[in-house]
Symmetry: C2
Subunit: 349 residues, 2 copies
DNA sequence: GTTTAGCACTTAACCCTAAAGAGTGCTAAA
DNA sequence: TTTAGCACTCTTTAGGGTTAAGTGCTAAAC
């Protein structure tokens, strides 16, 4: 357990380092502290903190830098719950205040707002209802060998895909297949639908048409689009600024990570523990070395019966945690309000 | 006019420099040349080339580097029309050989292939038919306040967008609006449709519903999606490697350019002059300083009655032009073949 | 009239050293 | 327990010397 003074010193080190990026030395720190002590005293305390692995030196005679554990301690115990500034709150409310046609627009726009406010990279996932089910699949012929396939889920999501019938494919047979699909699969959770797609469905389709491939590709495509946990990313380019590396290789792996949906959504989901805002620092995010110098701040937002969604911000470990956490927290509340309003306006009565 | 020997020397300088990235000096060059001369002679010839602004020094005692004009001269006069290797050709044919459901899939995949082959960034536009017209607009109700709007053009493109009816919007009124739209606008080129959308259409819509905004946004959205010259980009991340800059600012402006559709499609269109492959170097691409160290190679591909499309590769000015141009040229031919095949398979009889 | 050997000159890149600056740990006194 | 003082460590910066690669020019050779 640290003494009160050690807490204050660690806090000051983190604040100083996150704002300047330079290792902090005992002399400068002594001047900044809210109580009057000499640099020698600060040095003694620093030695304690270093033995506790909360801070580290870059070389034997350099100033101190917070370690991963130091940031962790800071976030857990020393963060003063800094409320978001009025100004920021107004920005959030204004940006969310405009009118939107679709829920996806709100969520996608949210990623942009959040990345702008923080100047890091932001992620948003829309409210997720457990166990989404297929509520209908249809085919609308558009003439001239074109049809559009439309899938609707019971959560109200719609996916569609236009395609052109190969000359050897018969529209009537196709409609029969669609009837069969609706017969067999409506009401099932999308996950089961996916399973059946690799199971008995191909055989059934073969009753109606020569080769099932073309149709199955199409259907599979639409189903997995609907089943995918779709998230939005804002401020990708900010990564170039805050990543602190000029190595194209490292940047490429980071950007590839951003494009690699499964992995990323896995990382975001892992932050769903508990209420409120979750902070993961460096290696806490994942085993992957490339994330060592980043922190991921995730939070859920709760839209009552409509489910919970996730927002997240990826920044450097060296970030102003108070501010960022404050922003994320304010944002999750405002977004929840906005979405409730949206649902009220468009659904039920 | 340059002598034969000067041509050879310039050619060798460009070859050497594009492959090593190092300024080339007289001594090394003398050894590489296909005829036997001393380094002093080479120096004399280099002085001539420098006076002609075809090559330049980085500092007073450095080797020579081709200037923009030097590359230009090289591309125009000294390029030996290097055929693509068998290996590359096989790669192209295999990648294009797989089966595709939609033309967009082919075009989008093409951008990836081309960027992989060149290890630069590639762009592809689908064959463009002049004067695309609106051939139908419909609304399919999906129940539960959802509808999907579908727009079809006479070129066979389909755009759709799902949306949720606000509670104060009446489906019958909406259908009446759709009838009116079809009545008024079917058969018109999309450009005229866009014009009418800002002209008399809003008034007409107001006959049927209180506020036209919601519907007009939707319709406008779908029409402009269909009217947009949609292109695909492959190998965005390659830019990190070949751009030669570690300055995040410069990289950001480049990436922003890639996302800025209008500007980019303008640049690509500008390469449509004449048959075959067009090479623009540095400032020839645009006035914008950020493009100074890049070259843009564009080419059209011709799918007979189905129109012409564009493919392009963006790389550093310092690129192996023979190879890249060869690849782009081979690719445009293979892609044209493949698309003709695709159309034959899906359309007409 | 070209071509070439020779040479003086220029510049970047590298390595070394010295000095300055920032910071540390330790000791002994307050 | 705190602090002044001091020796020590390490990084950063500037300067100087050397090397390597290259140039332009001149005068001789072809």
């Amino acid at each position: 357990m640290l003494t009160q003074r050690q807490n204050k010193i660690l806090q000051a080190i983190v604040r100083q380092y996150t704002s300047t990026g330079q290792p902090v030395g005992s002399k400068h720190l002594a001047e900044e502290l809210p109580f009057k002590v000499s640099s020698a005293t600060v040095r003694n305390e620093m030695a304690v903190l270093e033995r506790a692995h909360l801070i580290a030196k870059e070389h034997s005679s350099s100033g101190r830098v917070p370690s991963k554990e130091g940031y962790r301690y800071y976030v857990d115990h020393l963060l003063d719950p800094q409320a978001v500034t009025d100004n920021d709150l107004v920005v959030i409310q204004n940006s969310l205040g405009t009118s939107f046609q679709k829920i996806d627009e709100i969520i996608s726009h949210s990623a942009d707002i959040l990345s702008n406010l923080t100047s890091y990279t932001a992620f948003t996932l829309k409210p997720e209802q457990a166990d989404v089910r297929l509520s209908g699949f249809r085919l609308v012929p558009l003439g001239n060998h074109k049809v559009i396939a439309i899938l609707v889920t019971d959560s109200g999501d719609v996916e569609s895909q236009a395609f052109t019938l190969p000359r050897n494919l018969d529209l009537d047979a196709l409609q029969a297949v669609i009837r069969m699909i609706n017969d067999q699969l409506v009401g099932l959770p999308l996950t089961s639908v996916m399973k059946r797609l690799n199971d008995d469905i191909p055989l059934r389709v073969m009753h109606y048409m020569h080769s099932a491939d073309g149709f199955l590709d199409l259907f599979d495509n639409v189903v997995s689009k609907a089943a995918r946990e779709q998230f939005f990313i804002g401020g990708r380019l900010n990564l170039l600024d805050f990543s602190n590396t000029r190595d194209p290789q490292a940047l490429q792996t980071m950007y590839r990570l951003l494009d690699h949906n499964d992995e990323l959504s896995h990382l975001l989901d892992a932050g769903k523990t508990g209420e409120g805002v979750n902070v993961r620092i460096g290696s806490e995010i994942s085993k992957d070395k490339v994330l060592d110098n980043y922190s991921l701040i995730t939070a859920t937002y709760d839209v009552d019966q409509y489910g919970k969604g996730i927002i997240a911000v990826l920044g450097p470990t060296r970030m102003p945690y108070s501010r960022t956490i404050g922003l994320v927290n304010a944002f999750r509340q405002e977004l929840a309000k906005r979405l409730l309003d949206f649902y009220w306006h468009y659904y039920d009565s």
